[in-house]
C-alpha cells in the first residue's frame, strides 16, 4: 500500500465559448457532414453562435489519491482504501498506476432542459441537436481538464492514462456512488440519482491513472459491447 497523497478537488471552469464543438465537428458527430443544405445545419450554427456568447460555464475537476492495489484477476482497483469494481479491462490499463485522479465534469443543466422543452413542443430534430452539443461540450471540457492534469503530472515526471468511466468498458454504473464518495466536496453541483444517473445529464465521471509507466492508448472499442458509446463515435470519426 502506498502512502496517502489524497488531494482536495482541483476545480476548472470554462466558459461555453471555450468548449463548444465547431460546426464541422458537430456535423460529423451527427453524420451530417456534407449535407450543408439540411435545415439542421442552419439550426446548429444558430445555437452554437448563441451559446458561444453565454455566460454559463462548464465546471469540472479531480481529486487525486494513491493507488493501493490493482487486482487484475478480480478487476478491482483500490484508491486510498476505496475499492472500485472497475473490471479487468480498466484494471489492465491502470495496472502500472501509482496514483489515480477521480474526476467529475458537467456542462450544466441547460442542454437537457432545453432538449426537454423542444421535445415537448414536438421539435425533435432541434432537441436532438442541442442534446448533441451538450454531449460534445462536456467531453471537450473534460479534454481540457485531462490536458491540464497531463501537464501538471509531467512536471513531476509522471504520465497519465486515458479516462475511464463507470458504465463503460464493463465497469458497473453502481460504482458512481464510490466515486462520488471518494471525490467528496466539489463545486460541480452534480447529483446522483438512486439509479446512479448524474444530474445534470450532460456530466461525466471516471478515473485517470497516473504513474511513471502508464500510457495513453487508443480506446478499446473492439472489446467493448456498448454500440452507442460517445467514444466509439468519436474514434470512428478520426
Amino acid at each position: 500500500m502506498h502512502d496517502s497523497v489524497k488531494s482536495t478537488f482541483h476545480t476548472y471552469r470554462f466558459p461555453y465559448g471555450e468548449v463548444l464543438p465547431s460546426l464541422d465537428e458537430l456535423a460529423r458527430y451527427l453524420h451530417m457532414d456534407g449535407d450543408t443544405e439540411h435545415p439542421a445545419y442552419a439550426y446548429m450554427q444558430e445555437r452554437l453562435d448563441e451559446l458561444a456568447t453565454s455566460e454559463l460555464q462548464a465546471v469540472g475537476g479531480y481529486a487525486i489519491g494513491a493507488v493501493d492495489a490493482v487486482d487484475m484477476q478480480g478487476g478491482l482497483l483500490t484508491v486510498e482504501g476505496v475499492t472500485f469494481e472497475a473490471g479487468t479491462q480498466v484494471c489492465g490499463y491502470l495496472k502500472e498506476a501509482t496514483e489515480a485522479a477521480l474526476f467529475l465534469c458537467t456542462a450544466g443543466p441547460l442542454f437537457s432542459d432545453e432538449a426537454h422543452r423542444l421535445n415537448a413542443e414536438g421539435e425533435f430534430l432541434e432537441a436532438y441537436i442541442i442534446d448533441a452539443i451538450g454531449s460534445l461540450a462536456v467531453e471537450r471540457a473534460m479534454d481540457k481538464i485531462h490536458q491540464a492534469l497531463k501537464e501538471e503530472q509531467a512536471q513531476r515526471g509522471l504520465k497519465i492514462t486515458n479516462r475511464y468511466s463507470p458504465g463503460y468498458c464493463n465497469w458497473p454504473l453502481k460504482d458512481q456512488r464510490a466515486l462520488f464518495g471518494f471525490v467528496g466536496e466539489n463545486p460541480t453541483g452534480i447529483e446522483l440519482s438512486e439509479s446512479c444517473l448524474m444530474h445534470p445529464i450532460k456530466s461525466v465521471s471516471g478515473v485517470i491513472g497516473i504513474g511513471e509507466k502508464v500510457r495513453r492508448r487508443a480506446y478499446g472499442c473492439v472489446v467493448c459491447q456498448n454500440k452507442t458509446c460517445i467514444y466509439r463515435r468519436l474514434v470512428q470519426k478520426e
Binding site: L30, P39, D131, E194
Partner: protein, 223 residues
C-alpha cells in the same frame, strides 16, 4: 401509384415538409407533404389509401434506410416532421373512425431513467407505421403503465432504458403489468439491452432499432 401519392411518398422519404421548406434542395419551390396530403384528399383519395399507399410505405423506407446506415437520425427526424405535417390532415379521420389504426402502442422510459431520444424515435416511426402511440414520457412507474393499459385495452407496451442500473426495472414493470393483465405483450430496447436479456425478463420482443419495433408489432397482429 397515383401521381400525387407518388410525390407524397418522396416528400416523406426526403423530409419535404411544405412548399416553404427549402429542403431537399432538388425539391425547392415544390409542394410538400402538407399540401400534397390536402390535394390527395381534395382529389377524393380515401385517407386510408393515402396512409397505406404513401405515408406508411415512405416511413418504412426511411426506417429501412436508417437500419442499413444510409440515413442517420437527423434525416429520420426530418422525415418524421414531414409525416407529422401530412398527419395533421389525416388525424380527423382517425378520430371519426374512417381510418383505422393497426393498434395501440404504449411506450415509456422506465423509472429511474430520463433518456428519451431513442424512445422518441421509436414513437415517431411506430406512429408513421400506422399505430396509435401513447407516449408516457420518461421515469415512468409500473403503476403508470398499468393505468395506461387499463385506459387502452389491447395495447402493446414498449419499454426503454439506457442504463445498466435501470434496465432491471423493465422486469419490475413487466411483472407488475402481468399481475393483472397477463395478455399484454412487451417490446424492450435501449443501449444495454439484448435479446437474451429480453427473454430472461419475460419480454415478447427485443428491438435494436425503431424498424424492429414495427416488425415485432406486425408479428403480434399476425399471431
Amino acid at each position: 401509384m397515383n401521381e400525387i401519392l407518388e410525390k407524397l411518398f418522396t416528400c416523406i422519404e426526403f423530409g419535404k415538409i411544405n412548399t416553404a421548406s427549402p429542403y431537399p434542395p432538388q425539391m425547392r419551390g415544390q409542394e410538400g407533404a402538407m399540401e400534397l396530403t390536402k390535394q390527395a384528399l381534395d382529389a377524393g383519395i380515401a385517407p386510408s389509401e393515402i396512409m397505406d399507399t404513401a405515408l406508411i410505405p415512405a416511413m418504412t423506407r426511411v426506417g429501412q434506410k436508417f437500419t442499413e446506415g444510409q440515413v442517420f437520425v437527423p434525416q429520420m427526424l426530418l422525415s418524421a416532421k414531414a409525416m407529422n405535417a401530412a398527419l395533421t390532415h389525416i388525424k380527423p379521420f382517425f378520430q371519426s373512425g374512417e381510418v383505422k389504426r393497426k393498434g395501440t402502442f404504449v411506450i415509456g422510459t422506465v423509472f429511474g431513467d430520463l433518456h428519451d431520444i431513442g424512445k422518441n424515435l421509436v414513437c415517431m416511426m411506430v406512429e408513421g407505421a400506422g399505430w396509435e402511440v401513447i407516449d408516457l414520457g420518461v421515469d415512468v412507474s409500473a403503476e403508470k403503465f398499468v393505468a395506461a393499459i387499463e385506459k387502452h385495452p389491447g395495447a402493446h407496451v414498449g419499454l426503454s432504458a439506457l442504463l445498466t442500473t435501470t434496465m432491471t426495472n423493465m422486469k419490475t414493470i413487466i411483472d407488475k403489468v402481468h399481475e393483472t393483465h397477463p395478455e399484454v405483450k412487451f417490446i424492450v430496447g435501449g443501449a444495454p439491452v439484448s435479446a437474451e436479456f429480453a427473454q430472461e425478463i419475460g419480454a415478447d420482443g427485443y428491438a435494436a432499432d425503431p424498424q424492429d419495433d414495427i416488425k415485432i408489432l406486425e408479428s403480434f397482429l399476425n399471431a
